[in-house]
Structures are given as structure tokens and as C-alpha cells.
Amino acid sequence: MIEVSNLRKEFGNFVAVDDISLNVNQGEVLGFLGPNGAGKSTTMKMITGFLAPTAGTIKVCGHDVAEDPIAAKTVIGYLPEGAPAYPDMKPLAFLNFIAEIRGFRGTDKQQRIDAAIDKTNLGSVIHKPIDTLSKGFKRRVGIAQAILHDPKVLVMDEPTDGLDPNQKHEVRELIRAMAQEKSIIISTHILEEVHAVCNRAIIIAQGRLLFNGTPVELETRSRYHNAVNMVLATAKPGETANALQSIANVSQVEMHTLPDGLVRYTLLPDSGKSIIKEASRYALEHGLDIKELGLEAGRLDEVFRTITTATGDQREALT
């Protein structure tokens, strides 16, 4: 439903977005990841028709954003970064304005507004001026206006930024509940969020698309993917580490001393190999005093750092 091809945006000499292509289908929740200033927001602004691309095309539900912006904007719901809303207005009046612009009248309009208020739990604040609301409520007002017309395409720039854990959870639940019949793009700094709500993730840095795949694929990139964590009570940590290193397919052992004479060993596998069986068998056979044993899925923040800070050559190798 969203087709972006060879998108490029220049501001003067600065290339903010450099040749990005991507597709989002119905039922997909795509997460935009990337450091600050990587071009995430700029890409979103072009998809929603706020900025005109320097080159490349964007189609939303078949409408070319450059050629027929109004048709494209009709099917898009957009939460801009920071959820801007008219500060002197009250949420009810604000949503009423959005509903009128979106072409709803009479009881249909009323139902849409009520549904949006209901979904975002705004009921208690609809008569308070928006600039007096807390950050969480302001964000929800922004989300309410974005979903009011039940859009096929939803673009949300950092929907959970600045929210407390409960509010984050609510917003994620909301996104998950809508995911089935929509195409959703969200941007985020929070890597767990990718796991919580997205079924695909892309990483952008310095305007370029560096990764496009599922969150699981992203974790597979991690050195810690399928690593085994063991907490042992051992008198001779160094010797135990050497012993663990000898297990088949273990490429590296990291050691971290904990209080009370415990030591955490992290066993990194050779790439693509699984070592949990060998490691647990070894531990049982050698009578290690295991306090804890666990398998790591991968460390997203580590992958994120590796991908976004890689130099040009390394980057070629990654993509």
C-alpha cells in the first residue's frame, strides 16, 4: 500500500535522504530505526506529502503523492514528531475540526470523534485546553486525530516518545489492534519497541537504508544471537572460563564477576551455530554448580550500533 522508490531529499548541499526504496503491505507494521538526524522524519514527511522529494516517487494506495497529494493525504493518518496541535484549542474542538476537514458530517462525524476519543482514552480531558495537558495526553490527542478517519495508512513519528511505561504499553496495544487492516509506519528510538509492535524494521543512517528485514533477522545479526548465559558458583573463575572455551562451536567466553562468589559467563557461538545443548551437557557432565542458565536472542542495541556506526566499506559488506 506504500511504495517508495529511489527517494532522495537534499537541503542545499546536505543529502538528508539518499536513495531509499521500501514497500509496506497491508497488515505490516514497519519500524524506522536510526540515530537522530538520520533522515527518518524527513522520509516520513515526504511520504505524508509535507515535503516534496528532490527525486524519487512515493505511492500511497496507488495515489502518487506528488501528482495527487489530496487523494494520498485522504488515505493517510499522520502523527508528526512531537504531536503538534493547536495549543489554545480543546481536544473535542480540535477533533471536530479534523473531522470536518476529513469530510465527515452529522452523526457520522460525532461517531468518528467519539470512537477516536474512546480508543485513545481522552474522555477525561476533552474540555481542557491542549496546552494544559500532560505530554501523554497531548500525544494521545495527536494519535486520535491521526486515526479519526480510520485511515488505510498510518504514519507515526515517535508515537511513544516521552510517555511513561503504562502509556507506552497502551499506545503499543492500540497499534497492534489496528495493525491487521492497515499499513503502519512508526519511527522509534526504543529498540524493544521494534520487537513489541513491528513485524519489519528498517535502519536508516546518514540518509541511507542500511537494513530491511524482520526484528528476528535483526537479532540474528548480533554476536550474541544464540549466546548462552550461565551463572556459576566457582572457586576458580579463570580456569572455568578456559574450560568453557573448549566446548565445541564456542567462539568466545565473556566473564563478569557477580557478588557472593558468583560469575556470569556469556558463551558466544560461532556464527550461525547453536551451542545451548553442548553447553548444558558440558555443565552437567562436569558437575558445574549452575545458578542460572539462559539463551540470548540477540542484542538489538549492539546490532544497531554496529550497523549505524560502520564506515563505508563495512557498510557495503553488511548490505
Partner: protein
Amino acid sequence: MNNQINIHNIWAIAKRELINYFATPVAYVFLVIYLALSGVFTFYLGGFYERGQADLQSFFNFHPWLYLLLIPALSMRLWSEERKTGTIELLMTLPISIVDAVVGKFLAAWCFTGVALVLTFPIWISVNYLGDPDNLVIFASYIGSFLMAGSYLAVGSCISAVTKNQVIAFIVGVVLCLAFVLTGFPIVLDFFKGWLPHFIVDAISYLSFLTHFNATMKGIMDFRDIFFFISFIACWMFANAVLVDMKKAD
């Protein structure tokens, strides 16, 4: 830039703006100051009683100066506030054209000045009570004043699209409007007459609000004066739309 015009959208935007005027003290402060100042100008500076004539010359004479101060104060926030608070991103990603937004905002502000103008009706009642004025002349003057207010607003709205800073929008708006007032003054025109060809001096004089407003104050509803104000407003609104499109993301 997209030029489709949709009446529903214009109406929705104008309504939101108007409601916003009255949601904040802006509307009330403006109306009170406007009415108080027009009273002061008419009765003290204009010598309404001393003139001993049953007309509203002393009232309308000061409108160009009253608007010079008040209208840029009304128009300065039209676009700069949208850019400052980031709501322009919201507005411009709604399914509307830029022209809808420019026209809607302009009409809201213009309606508001219309309300202010209508609220000066006690002065019209007074003059009718005291004497027997030519009400057609008064009516023509009111229309002329309203059109002139629209011209000030069109300039101010356009300027407010250029900057995020409302103070700058106000000052530049005042200066530009002042230019369009002054070019109608004989002193200013005499200054140009010395060294500019005649037709340029005529053109400068033609572009002044004062030239056309004074004509309507004489009770002559000339099509050419109305045409001037309407086309003046249209030109500035077009520039406004172009500037919004250019500057929206800065």
C-alpha cells in the same frame, strides 16, 4: 503547489480560526481597543462636534491609521504561529490545498474585522440622531473601509508566512502597510514628481490605499476602486500561498 479550492475546507479552517479568536483574549482585547480608539479619534482628534456637519468623515478619516496599528497585530500570528508550534505540518498533511488554508485563514480574520466595523454602529446612530446625514455615503465608506481592512490583512498574512517570529511579522507588516498608505499623500507624491516619469508617479498613487479609500468616502462606489482592493487582496493572497509552500518546512 496544489490549487484546488474546496468550500468545505475553507469554511472548516475559517471556523476554527474564528473560534480560536474568541477562545483567547485576543478577540476581546482587539474589539475593545478598536472601538475605544475609533471613539477617541472621531470625537477628540477628528472634532466630530466642532465640525458641525452631519457626516462620518471624522470617523473614517482615521481608519487608515487605526488599521495600520491594529491589523498587523491581528494578522501577525496567522502563519507564524502555525510554523512556530509545528501545527503547519499537521495542517499541510490534511487533505486540503494550500489555497484552501490561505483563503480560510484570511476570511476568518476579515470577518473578524467586519464584526469590529459593525460594532461601531452607535456612531452611525448618533449622527442620524443629531442630524440628517447622507446614509449612502456612510454605507459606501463602510464598504470602502472593509475592503481596505482586507488589503491590510492580505499584506499582513503574507508577511506572517515569511517568519516564525510574530514580532518581526508585526513590524514588517506595519512598515509595508505604511508604504501603501503614504504613497497616496500629496507630499510623498510631490517628492517623486521631481525625478520620476509621470506615469510611474500615477502608478505609485494608484497603488495607495488612501487614493481608493478617499474615493469611496466621497460616496462614489466606483467599480475601479472596488476592483483595486479585490485584485490587491488576490495578489497578496497568491504570494501568501507561494510563500507558505516555500517556507513551510524551514
